[in-house]
């Protein structure tokens, strides 16, 4: 990953070699440090099994964060992703429970398509409110956060929405628990999503426009770039990423409620920033984002595997570790 990150970003951004090297590598250095700490804490930690587990469950945040990388690069912010997960997942399960299509495989396919459409639609709503309504993205998506979560509560009538059809469940389960050539499906999905995202961001006209809009929207407008369209599409991409995360989430827990995905937006944004993308916009690092998501999940994992930290203090230590990880990155970059 590191190598391809460098390659992609260097040619895309063309900084001096030394500079780019360290900036792109920094999150990976922090990751390496964490792996060492983890290995010291618990011998089981470094086992393939455990690391695969961690990577697998980082999938939700990682995939959502890839979408967030687009939104943040274009200078916006999306706080609604957590509740969007709950909302999209509710609709997906309700649809599958509806029994509208008899054949399970067909039903599943239709549900997948519906999920993607709903996700894209939610993203589109966010995008239009932000761009056409000209509302600060922070407030616009805080508003839709409330709306999506509220709708979920209403759909679930305050309870949970659970996938009922056992046949469907059996059919769908491998989407999270299965593996392809020995690699768990979620990891494959993370990689696929990231490769596509990196391609779009670094190799297509749209990706170039995203960066330009985030860097200076006036300049972008004067260059004939349809600024609002670029921003709106970034929100749609975010919505599609949320939908993909939902496609993995539903087979895992088979149920959602109004509390699903609470605070995931903060985690996604944190993953993006820990991965080296600046919140001000104008530069996106997709591979760094994935690394950031992995770091976050790893911190939780290490906490759990270590047996000497009072569970009351876990939150405090997690906070401290994130700060330290960022300091490690900074000092690396500064040394260059």
């Amino acid at each position: 990953m590191t190598a391809s990150e460098d390659a992609a970003e260097t040619s895309a951004r063309g900084r001096t070699w030394r500079d780019i090297d360290l900036r792109a590598v920094a999150p990976f250095a922090a990751l390496a440090l964490l792996l060492i700490v983890g290995a010291l804490v618990n011998p089981n930690f470094i086992g393939l099994n455990n690391l695969a587990n961690v990577a697998t469950r980082s999938a939700f945040i990682a995939i959502i964060a890839v979408g967030a990388t687009f939104v943040i690069s274009s200078g916006d912010l999306d706080l609604s992703v957590g509740s969007m997960v709950a909302f999209v997942a509710s609709i997906m399960i309700l649809f599958m429970n509806s029994g509208a299509i008899a054949d399970p495989s067909l039903m599943l396919a239709a549900a997948v398509a519906l999920t993607i459409i709903i996700g894209a639609g939610c993203g589109l709503a966010n995008g239009l409110i932000t761009t056409v309504g000209k509302i600060e993205p922070f407030i616009a998506t805080l508003g839709t956060m409330g709306i999506y979560r509220g709708l979920t509560t209403w759909l679930s009538q305050g309870g949970a929405i659970t996938l009922r059809e056992p046949e469907l469940q059996a059919l769908y389960r491998p989407a999270y628990f299965g593996s392809i050539l020995g690699v768990p499906v979620p990891i494959v999905v993370i990689l696929a999503v990231t490769i596509v995202a990196a391609f779009v961001l670094y190799r297509t006209r749209y990706g170039r426009h995203v960066v330009a809009v985030g860097s200076n929207s006036d300049v972008a407008r004067y260059s004939g770039i349809p600024v609002n369209r670029v921003r709106t599409i970034a929100f749609v991409i975010q919505g599609v990423c949320v939908a993909i995360a939902v496609l993995l989430y539903v087979p895992r827990l088979g149920s959602t409620s109004a509390t699903t995905g609470i605070l995931w937006e903060l985690q996604a944004i944190t993953a993006v920033v820990v991965g080296g993308t600046a919140l001000k916009g104008g530069a996106g690092r997709v591979w760094g984002t994935i690394c950031g998501a992995f770091i976050l999940e790893l911190v939780g994992n290490i906490m759990l595997l270590s047996n000497f930290i009072s569970e009351y203090l876990i939150g405090a230590i997690q906070g401290a570790i994130i700060i330290i990880a960022m300091l490690v990155q900074r000092s690396l970059v500064r040394k260059s």
Binding site: N42, N44, G47, N49, N50, N53, R57, F60, T153, S156, Q157, G158, G159, A160, T162, R173, F177, Y249, R252, L253, G254, S255, T256, S257, A258, T259, T260, G261, I262, L263, E297, G300, N301, L304, L305, N307, E311, Y312, I314
Partner: protein, 295 residues
């Protein structure tokens, strides 16, 4: 004599509110006791804030290698898959308090049930008996199934009486939010007889709001769980808190004890153990008063 080595993992919600704090307190208290009496036993307690991270925690406990899992789910349905996974490895599973919609032998070996339905029902019945024509406002918790169960129980409890529910709103099991909701209820309704807020934490906010408004129409407040502060009020004969409905966080300790007994005792431990939602009154209050608990 060398005892056999057993590791029990305990997965419970993070201390997001008084009751869960009590859960942690009792889990740790019992864990310590058990480890003292069984030198071969190791109990690992882990807390998680939400279903997804609790699923992770369960997975991490499995990675460490455990013989039994005692789990009090933050939200049961989303955790079924994770629990089944670990049960599939032959781990003994004791499920505490919150039941998933499918709750049978495929999910767990032992179910220590806190009875959310009964918590609502007992409160409802008390109100029905004490003030059969009361106008009641309800403060709910958060939109998750256990809250829904309590509401259903309450409705069953007041069935067939003149008790009228004026309003139900979410207070998020949080003192500050309950304070606000109660303030607004007091603005909205000129006469309220009884408040049912199903939780001792929220009762703190409710009492303050009533006191501030100086309203005398409210006859009493029914909360629930059995925190030491509220039990104390019942014990002292506080007019506003005549009773409390027990929903003991200590049930996790019970489950842990039973799981240990599965390995060290003679009898196999399986099935369902329901813990009653006892009505705490002035007479029996001192039996439920733990001044050392954080809750």
């Amino acid at each position: 004599q060398e005892e056999k080595k057993v590791t029990i993992g305990v997965s419970i919600p993070a201390a997001s509110h008084g009751w869960t704090a009590g859960v942690i307190y009792h889990a740790e208290r019992v864990a310590k006791q058990l480890m003292e009496s069984h030198p071969g036993l190791n109990v690992v307690v882990k807390t998680s804030p939400d279903p997804a991270s609790q699923a992770n925690a369960v997975q991490d406990l499995a990675t460490q290698g455990i013989d039994a899992l005692v789990i009090l789910p933050t939200d049961p349905d989303p955790l079924v898959n994770a629990i089944k996974e670990i049960k599939g490895n032959g781990t003994f599973v004791a499920l505490v308090d919150r039941a998933p919609s499918v709750n049978d032998g495929t999910v767990r070996d032992l179910y220590v049930a806190g009875n959310n339905f009964a918590l609502g029902e007992v409160a409802g019945q008390y109100i029905k008996e004490t003030t059969p024509e009361a106008e009641v406002v309800v403060i709910r918790g958060m939109p998750i199934p256990i809250d829904q169960e309590r509401q259903n129980g309450f409705d069953k409890g007041i069935e067939g009486s003149g008790v009228k529910v004026l309003d139900r709103q979410y207070g998020n099991w949080n003192r500050d939010d309950a304070f606000k909701v109660m303030q607004d209820y007091l603005t909205k309704y000129q006469k309220i007889d009884v408040v049912w807020c199903q939780d001792d934490d929220m009762a703190v906010g409710v009492l303050q709001a009533i006191e501030q408004a100086g309203r005398t129409d409210i006859q009493y407040v029914v909360a629930g769980a059995g925190s030491k502060d509220m039990i104390k009020k019942v014990m002292d004969g506080d007019k506003m808190i005549p009773v409390d409905v027990l929903y003991p966080p200590a049930m996790v300790g019970t489950a842990l004890e039973m799981a240990a007994a599965h390995f060290y005792g003679q009898v196999p431990v399986r099935g369902v153990y329901t813990i009653d939602a006892t009505l705490v009154t002035k007479d029996n209050a001192k039996d439920f008063y733990f001044p050392d608990s954080p809750f």
